[in-house]
Amino acid sequence: MTPLKTVGHGTHRIDALQRVTGAAKYTSDLHLSGMLYARVLRSPHPHARIRKIDVSKAMALPGVKAILTHENCDTTWSSGDQLNQRKLFNNPVRFAGDPVAAIAAVDRHIAEDATHLIEVEYEVLPFLTDLEEALKPGAVAIHEGGNLSLNNQRQPVPQTYKRGNVADGLKAADHVFEDNFTSAHHNNAQLEMRVSVAEWSGDKLTVHAATQGIANCRTDIAKDLKLNVDNVRVISEYMGGGFGNKNQCQDSDLMAALLAKQAGAPVKLEFTRKEDFVAVHGRWSSRQSYKVGVKNDGTLTAIQFTALSGAGAYRKGSCDLSGTEIYQVPNLETSVSPVYTNTAVAANYRAPAYPQAVFGIESLMDDVAYALKMDPMEFRLKNMTRKFRDQTPYTSIGLEDCIRKGAEKFGWNQRWKPVAGSGDGPVKRGAGMAMGMFGSGLGRSSAVLRLDGQGQYHLHVGVTDVGTAAKTTMGLIAAEELGVPLEKVKVVWGDTDTCPYSVGESGSRTTVQTGMAVIEAVRDLKKQVAEKGAPKGNDVYTAMATTNPPPIQGASRNSFAAHFAEVEVNIETGHAIVTRFVSAHDSGRVVNPLTAQSQVQGGAIQGIGMALHEELLYDKRSGQPLNAGYYGARIMTHLDAPLVDVVWVETDEPYGPFGAKTLGEPTIIPTVAAVANAIHNAIGRRVKSLPITRDKILQALAKKGDVA
């Protein structure tokens, strides 16, 4: 791979100064003149019909300026549910936390006080918290048509994929392995809670949104509020994390806009931390069943995968589960059924369909390797994907190098124990690994580049920078293609009035998609300069590019990763900590190794939390969430976090900006499985449900067997 001048060199964020001085303005930092503060009243019941709602006492409270309920607000929140008509305020309410009213008042204390003055009469309905129970005959229907959600073609059947013939494949196998795994709903839990500030000027609406994608947020708001898209402006200058939680437009954006309209004043609506856990969304839970056929020499002959996924009360996400694709196998069947329950909604969280499913398949493959007395790493090298879905070549694939170089950095041969559970003393050490992949398709995006008479470039891109350093990345790509230092490129971002369409920071697509538009804009501008000479004085040249490349024919473009974990498990207390971690990634050329390293280390540490701690628990008898908040969720802290070593496998990738592939989401995909496999290697027992908490470890050790 040819080294480049700017791209590929560790570079500080262009807005680092603002981030370390408190100068960066996040949505909640805004104070508009005459601005009101809003709060939301939520259902205390997991499932209930609202018989009567009386807001008169709340409205009479001095300082209260506007109240929305289902009685005066029929607005649909389109991106809140892909299949059902989810309103901002639903009747019946379908989970403890479903919005019942929103109140705007002159300060947040009054808004909070007013929520207690709204009188709601509920008819309490039977509720469901369990996936299997939701599918039993006679179970209360949460949506019309029952609790088995439709597939992505809107049919009341599971989402399926098939190649070859699994029955034949299992028949041809020397051994058939079967097992079940489960994973819990857990929360994105980004530090910045959901917040929106809305302001009307005549029929023009400005929403300061904490969003991962200003362009999609804007079109969603226009659609749901029935406004011309030109009359909606979305601004997100700094954003405090999302991990998939803040894609598109959120209910808070719509509520703030409608409250502001009713009150005739700007409104700031902030959700609380508890609301962020119960009423926003987290990763969908799963119940996974596998059947795997394998030859004596370790060659896979078939995989059958059947699963339920927990959508929660609405169908906000795909609820798909993807993990089997990392294996080369001629016969494969997968079937995933999203199921409704009266619990918190599930939707996108960093590689939404992957880490929980990879935990299942990679745990089982580990067991297969042990059973065949094979080193799990050798087993993976033998069976890892070589072609996408066994047939389409990859544009580039560095998975084998990820495994080999990662293993070398980690010290796999010294750290992995051929006999799981061996070793003396109460603290047992073990090593595990897992692999993962993620699509890195090209797609539509735009960029605008201006060059003024002073030689300064202004790059307008519709990115928000959710923490990924996206605007620095865009600047680096422009500087590289222009052949100028980064300082010559001023990046303009985060405002739909000044920035063209970008896909938004979801699907790990910004670098690849908006990056290609930036390159196209640079090429156009360079052509103008070549034709006319550089602009002088007050002259300005402008180049605009919209790229919408057709799908790559005959090849699949993917990123790959292999992760390695070492754990210490205290078999007396059940306490497990990760002591060493290596993340090896093929994301093609790395545009900014400094900020990319932050991404990889952060993704791994998030994944360790998912493996060991995180679960939103529900009381089955009351349907109430039990541990909504940071203490209850036990997300990773400074003391929990291991040092994560990063290994780059920079494949020569023919597509994408300078050969860059996707990175943000793959960073968490194999992590959970690697930790789970390390725990098995340490204690000689398999814990088959996430999170792998102390009680499950102790239970596994006490039962002298695995724990479902």
């Binding site: 500080h12 964020r13 680092a16 603002q18 370390v20 001085t21 408190g22 960066a24 303005k25 909640s28 930092d29 104070h31 001095p62 300082g63 008042a105 002159v106 300060d107 204390h109 009054i110 909070e112 006080d113 207690h116 994105n188 839990a189 980004q190 530090l191 910045e192 809670m193 700094y238 954003m239 994390g241 609380t272 931390r273 959710v466 923490g467 350093a469 070492e566 990760v578 002591t579 390293q597 932050s598 991404q599 280390q601 952060g602 993704g603 791994a604 540490i605 998030q606 939390g609 908040g629 940071y630 203490y631 990773m636 802290t637 400074h638 003391l639 976090a641 040092l643 994560v644 070593d645």
Partner: protein, 212 residues
């Protein structure tokens, strides 16, 4: 059933609904003695919310402020003194995003009432740079790419500042222990620890974390 908000709980009163919106009287005085705090104007109808005038020093500036007794310190800083560098990540003492120094001690400002600050000196992230020069910690945070989304960064800076004031050259484990009450969901802990150790002159070759 009437819920008790955290603020009311912290405040220790269970009075009925009180309703006052305030434009606070805030004066900044550096050299001259503090002027009398102006009475707050109210936009709500109930002026009976208890209010107290307090004297505080914020980032080296003496101020006299009339505050509602139910305001938390972070509320005073962000909503009324326009110091929005301090962030609210949970508003319930779990995450550390709101960490400030009070007389040099790091505290969660969401869990302190503003009235308790009478006579005390508060340092926020805006007070770290001196005479236009960044604090070495801020330099190190930039150098080591410590902030990702940046929302927890102010709190991480303030807890790290408190640590370095007490212990100029902390070990990796001392940094991690001191900062463990400050969550980062981007989970950039390795780079945070690396940055603090660099500022303390004890930088390891690579990041922080559990060592095997």
């Amino acid at each position: 059933m009437k819920k008790i908000s955290r603020r009311r709980f912290v405040e220790g009163t269970s009075a009925g609904i009180v309703a006052v919106a305030a434009v606070p009287a805030v004066q900044a005085q550096q050299k001259t003695p503090p002027a009398a705090a102006e009475p707050a104007t109210t936009t709500g109808a109930n002026p009976s919310v208890p209010r107290t005038t307090i004297k505080i020093n914020v980032n080296g500036v003496d101020r006299r402020v009339e505050v509602e007794d139910r305001w938390t310190l972070v509320e005073l800083l962000r909503d009324h003194l326009q110091l929005t560098g301090t962030k609210i990540g949970c508003d319930r003492g779990e995450c550390g995003a709101c960490t400030v120094l009070v007389d040099g001690t790091p505290l969660y400002s969401c869990s302190q009432l503003a009235v308790w600050m009478n006579g005390r000196s508060i340092t926020t992230v805006e007070g770290l740079a001196k005479n236009g020069k960044l604090d070495p910690l801020q330099e190190a945070f930039i150098e080591h790419d410590a902030p990702q989304c940046g929302y927890c960064t102010s709190g991480q800076l303030m807890i790290a500042k408190a640590l370095l004031m007490k212990n100029a050259h902390p070990t990796r484990d001392e940094v991690r222990t001191a900062m463990t009450g400050n969550l980062c969901r981007c989970s950039n802990y390795n780079h945070y620890v690396e940055a603090v150790m660099a500022a303390g002159g004890t930088a390891p070759a690579t990041g922080g974390g559990n060592a095997a």
